[in-house]
């Protein structure tokens, strides 16, 4: 009984994961069905996010140095992972926070799932590119850089499409709110910076206060 439930769960997960490939080629009805037919799952979204991070890290190690020389002394793997996760998180929160005030139908979780599903083209293109990079010379680099750019543009355009579908926005409204979301992201980053610098100032104040106190007492 337990195993069959597990198999069911896995089947559902696998089906939702496969649905990401459908979304990658059919952005309109794909992302509509993603939320309205509930064909996306968090598990599949997380898998795609993991694949994206994996692609980015493996790119570092296995891409030919001709295309991407790496200064290893300077690489911080956590910053590297953060360079994907942090913008995604800020985007999801910023987009949801804004659209929810303006008739956006998508919920926070749905924005997250849809955004992650949009990332699929990145690992899909980057993994083969890692292999390709080891087969090209410097003159043939253009193939690589064009395909690499395609993977990024694909992701960005798909995210815009996806947001339109899950929020049920018209095309112009969608574009408008995409731009607005970018500004929302900037505001969030600004507030975070402010917050952290204030906190560190505050902490520093109390630490020096404590030090002074100890100094006087002793």
């Amino acid at each position: 009984m337990l195993t069959s439930a597990r198999i069911e769960a896995f089947k559902r997960y696998w089906k939702s994961f496969k649905f990401a490939f459908y979304c990658a080629t059919h952005p309109m009805d794909g992302f509509w069905d993603l939320t309205h037919e509930k064909r996306g799952t968090y598990a599949a979204a997380n898998t795609i996010l993991l694949l994206t991070i994996l692609a980015r890290i493996m790119k570092l190690q296995f891409t030919s140095f001709v295309i991407d020389p790496v200064y290893w002394e300077d690489i911080n793997i956590f910053l590297y992972i953060g360079s994907i996760v942090f913008p995604l998180a800020v985007w999801v929160v910023g987009n949801w926070a804004l659209t929810t005030l303006f008739d956006g139908k998508g919920r926070l979780g749905q924005v997250y799932i849809a955004s992650c599903y949009c990332l699929l083209p990145y690992p899909l293109i980057q993994f083969p590119l890692i292999i390709l990079s080891n087969m090209v010379t410097k003159d043939e680099m253009q193939f690589h850089s064009v395909l690499s750019a395609v993977s990024l543009i694909w992701v960005i355009v798909w995210i815009i499409f996806a947001m339109g579908q899950i929020h049920e926005y018209s095309f112009t409204k969608n574009i408008l709110f995409t731009i607005a979301s970018v500004f929302a992201m900037l505001v969030i980053v600004f507030l975070l910076l402010l917050f952290f610098s204030m906190i560190s100032q505050g902490v520093a104040y109390f630490i020096s206060f404590g030090k002074e106190l100890l100094f006087r007492l002793s």
């Binding site: 140095f65 001709v66 020389p69 200064y71 002394e73 300077d74 010379t137 410097k138 003159d139």
Partner: protein, 512 residues
């Protein structure tokens, strides 16, 4: 920039720890030794990190006026140094004379003669602040007699032949006093000279003394914003007081064995050098076009870090240049007192030197005159009035040997020489690339690729890889065809079989 800063912080911490350990050890066991050694010679790696290197040159001798046997010491403005065969000539500008020395052995020079006048039927047959001295292949002597406003041509017996005077050119300010400072003379007797206040490039005279034009002016560098501001937002009166957009003057010339002229400029702005709009050194052909090859990871402008500190500001100020017969050339930076050696591809071989009162270092802010005898470098520091003789060490000789062997087509020997260099300096990118290039010429592509990959040489790597790939495809052509066949044809056949099977299964005639 951030990368470099973070890197430096990290390094500094490392250095601090190492320093403390060393101090602790040495104070326990040994007295502290002099710190001057060690950080003298360096090179940049692919990332622009400074990599210490074994010394490529050592100081054979530092010769004072006394050592040279001069009765009357050199003036502190002496600045022309020319090595011809076994002799060197110094233009002792302040004493209005030219002095000749002969090299006896590695570290000994002896005074031969001083020249204060020449024979011939001219009004003035003495020198007035001479600044440069050249001898061409026929033995004719050319002297930039600066304050007499002429370039003199004398025969080998110091008899007056002719003089080159201020060019008659409409674009020149008639008020301008012609003060030639540096010369280059080609085999046909044509004279190229630079003069104070003339920024149109080199003044070119034909062998008969006629002025034939300005060649090799540096392109004018200005910022777009400055141009807009000056063109549209200033009055004529304001414009009058602003600096003009003019080409920079050359600081020095050197004619190499091929007849190309190395010209260096000292007063360049950091940002122009970094953006590539100005060049510290140009190698000019007879048309005045720059043909200097810059294939290195960094442009040819000396130090790539231009920070202020320790009394130094900004970029390297290249005041002299000399080129060996193997197209390796040495630049002399007066700002930090360093000598930069580049190969014919514009890659930094090594840099060394500094400011100070130690052998092999130079005094502050004095133009240093540089020339070479074979691979030995001779530098004149006019403030301390000394000649410093640098001779290549075993390491330096190995580098030159490897370069010469490669140029001569002896690739295997070159590879071995580079390996010997690598044994002495494992952080030297060019050694790895040199070995790789030798292997590449010997058609050992796979091994060459490994060496290039180690030091991020993508051009050569691609070259080797292209050949390697070609070989690989030729060797495995059968496998590739089979795999391609399997990928393309097999699914097609399976599909066809499936279709036939489907048709048979659904065919009407088999239905009962």
């Amino acid at each position: 920039m951030k990368k470099i800063q973070a890197k430096k912080l990290f390094k500094r911490m490392g250095a601090l720890v190492a320093g403390v350990v060393v101090l602790a050890c040495s104070s326990l066991a040994f007295p502290l030794t002099a710190q001057a050694e060690g950080k003298y010679t360096y090179c940049y790696d692919y990332w622009g990190d400074v990599q210490d290197s074994p010394d490529a040159y050592e100081v054979a001798a530092v010769l004072t006026c006394d050592d040279l046997g001069l009765e009357k010491p050199l003036s502190t403005t002496a600045n022309g140094l020319t090595a011809v065969g076994n002799y060197i000539y110094i233009c002792d500008t302040g004493n209005n004379r030219i002095v000749q020395f002969e090299r006896l052995d590695r570290e000994h020079f002896t005074f031969v003669k001083e020249y204060t006048e020449f024979k011939g039927n001219v009004e003035v047959n003495t020198f007035n602040k001479p600044r440069d001295f050249q001898i061409n292949e026929d033995g004719d002597i050319f002297i930039a007699d600066t304050d007499n406003n002429r370039v003199l041509k004398l025969d080998s017996e110091w008899n007056y032949v002719m003089e080159f005077v201020k060019p008659t050119d409409n674009t020149l300010d008639p008020e301008l006093v012609f003060q030639p400072t540096k010369l280059a003379v080609d085999t046909a007797g044509r004279v190229y000279c630079i003069a104070t206040g003339i920024n149109k490039g080199m003044i070119k005279y034909e062998a008969d003394g006629t002025f034939s034009g300005f060649v090799g002016a540096t392109p004018v560098v200005y910022k777009l914003w400055d141009y807009i501001w000056k063109r549209y937002f200033t009055t004529a009166a304001q414009r009058e007081k602003m600096a003009n957009f003019v080409p920079t003057e050359y600081a020095n010339l050197y004619m190499d064995h091929d007849g190309f002229i190395y010209a260096c400029s000292a007063n360049l702005a950091e940002e122009d050098l970094k953006s590539g709009s100005a060049k510290a050194v140009r190698r000019l052909n007879l048309m005045g076009n720059d043909i200097l090859i810059q294939n290195g990871e960094f442009p040819v402008y000396g130090d790539i870090y231009m920070g202020n500190g320790g009394g130094y500001t900004g970029c390297s100020k290249i005041v002299d240049v000399t080129a060996f017969d193997n197209d390796v050339y040495v630049l002399c930076d007066k700002e930090r007192g360093r000598l930069f050696t580049y190969d014919s591809q514009g890659r930094l071989l090594f840099a060394f030197g500094g400011k100070g009162n130690i052998d092999g270092y130079f005094m502050k802010d004095q133009p240093i005159a540089l020339d070479h005898m074979g691979y030995d470098l001779i530098a004149l520091d006019s403030l301390s009035r000394t000649l410093t003789v640098f001779t290549p060490t075993e390491y330096g000789n190995l580098i030159y040997q490897a370069i010469d062997q490669f140029d001569a087509g002896d690739y295997e020997a070159s590879g071995n020489s580079w390996k010997a260099v690598m044994d002495r300096n494992g952080n030297y990118d060019l050694a790895y690339i040199g070995v790789g290039r030798a292997l590449l010429r010997q058609e050992k592509y796979k091994e060459a690729m490994e060496y290039f990959e180690l030091k991020y040489d993508d051009d050569n790597y691609s070259r080797a890889f292209k050949q390697y790939r070609k070989e690989w495809v030729e060797d495995h052509i059968l496998v590739i065809i089979i795999v391609l066949f399997a990928i393309l044809v097999v699914p097609m056949i399976i599909g066809r079989i499936g279709k036939i099977k489907y048709e048979i299964d659904t065919a009407d005639i088999f239905k009962f």
